[in-house]
């Protein structure tokens, strides 16, 4: 029997490169001969914890006001990212994005993991945020999206109301800091190799093969 190979992904729902990276990683994983033995866990990383839960402005407003970027530079950056997202089949709509703090969304992802539905919810939340303009900082929206992703909605609501996974989110962020992770997406493959950014699918395939070959060679 083949040993399982684990991939840990640090990511944020409000990170456009993370959704693009998800597609590229999935393509790389699909090309890996041992894909059936790979398990993937998403971990919390708050890219912009200074974001209000309810922010009335646009992404351009937020980045120019909070990060000090000139508006035309932000618009150019978002346009370029939208084009790159389209190349991997994603339909980003930054004009519709509801900028929000993602702490609750991270708690929801931990709740989804406990329910065995984390990857379903990761995909649902990314699409909701970048393509559909949904408010992923709202408990009601997270419960609705969680239900669409196959979770027990009432259990999810109870966990969000109680803060059941707030410590787990904090532990993920602390682990990221311990690894020295400063940006996302970040992939830890086999607990040994660190891959930073939305790399080409071939990079992920080769990294997975390298870990697998080392495991075979060590037997």
């Amino acid at each position: 029997m083949t040993e399982p190979l684990h991939v840990d992904v640090w990511s944020d729902i409000a990170c456009p490169w993370c959704y693009i990276g998800k597609r590229k990683f999935e393509a790389g994983l699909a090309a890996f001969a041992g894909a059936d033995d790979v398990t993937v866990t998403y971990h919390s990383f708050e890219l912009s914890p200074d974001t209000p839960q309810d922010y009335d402005g646009s992404v351009v407003d937020f980045l120019s006001a909070h990060k000090g970027m000139p508006r035309d530079q932000v618009e150019q950056m978002l346009s370029q990212v939208t084009t790159i997202a389209a190349d991997v089949g994603l339909d980003y709509d930054f004009a519709a994005v509801r900028q929000t703090r993602t702490l609750l969304a991270h708690e929801a992802l931990h709740a989804a993991r406990a329910q065995g539905r984390q990857l379903d919810l990761v995909e649902r939340l990314f699409a909701a945020y970048f393509e559909e303009g949904r408010h992923v900082g709202s408990v009601d929206e997270l419960v609705a999206l969680g239900t669409e992703a196959g979770l027990d909605g009432q259990a999810l609501r109870d966990d969000l109301d109680a803060g059941t996974y707030s410590d787990a989110v904090a532990q993920d962020i602390a682990q990221a800091r311990a690894y020295g992770i400063q940006g996302v997406p970040f992939y830890v493959i086999g607990g040994k190799y660190g891959v930073s950014g939305a790399q080409r699918p071939e990079v992920f395939t080769q990294a997975l093969e390298q870990v697998r070959n080392e495991a075979v060679g060590a037997r």
């Binding site: 490169w17 980045l63 690894y179 940006g183 190799y193 891959v195 930073s196 080409r200």
Partner: protein
């Protein structure tokens, strides 16, 4: 198949870095687009 080259970016503590530098990463809320790598000059143009 050859092994992946080690990346030149600083290794996160305890991890061996793989992959290329300056790909799509979001840091502190800013998600810069990497500069395109210029094509290598065609040897026939030299």
């Amino acid at each position: 198949m050859s092994e992946l080259p080690l990346s030149p970016f600083p290794p996160p503590a305890g991890l061996v870095p793989l992959g290329e530098q300056d790909v799509g990463v979001c840091v502190d809320g800013v998600c810069a687009v990497p500069e395109p790598v210029p094509d290598a000059p065609d040897p026939e143009d030299r």
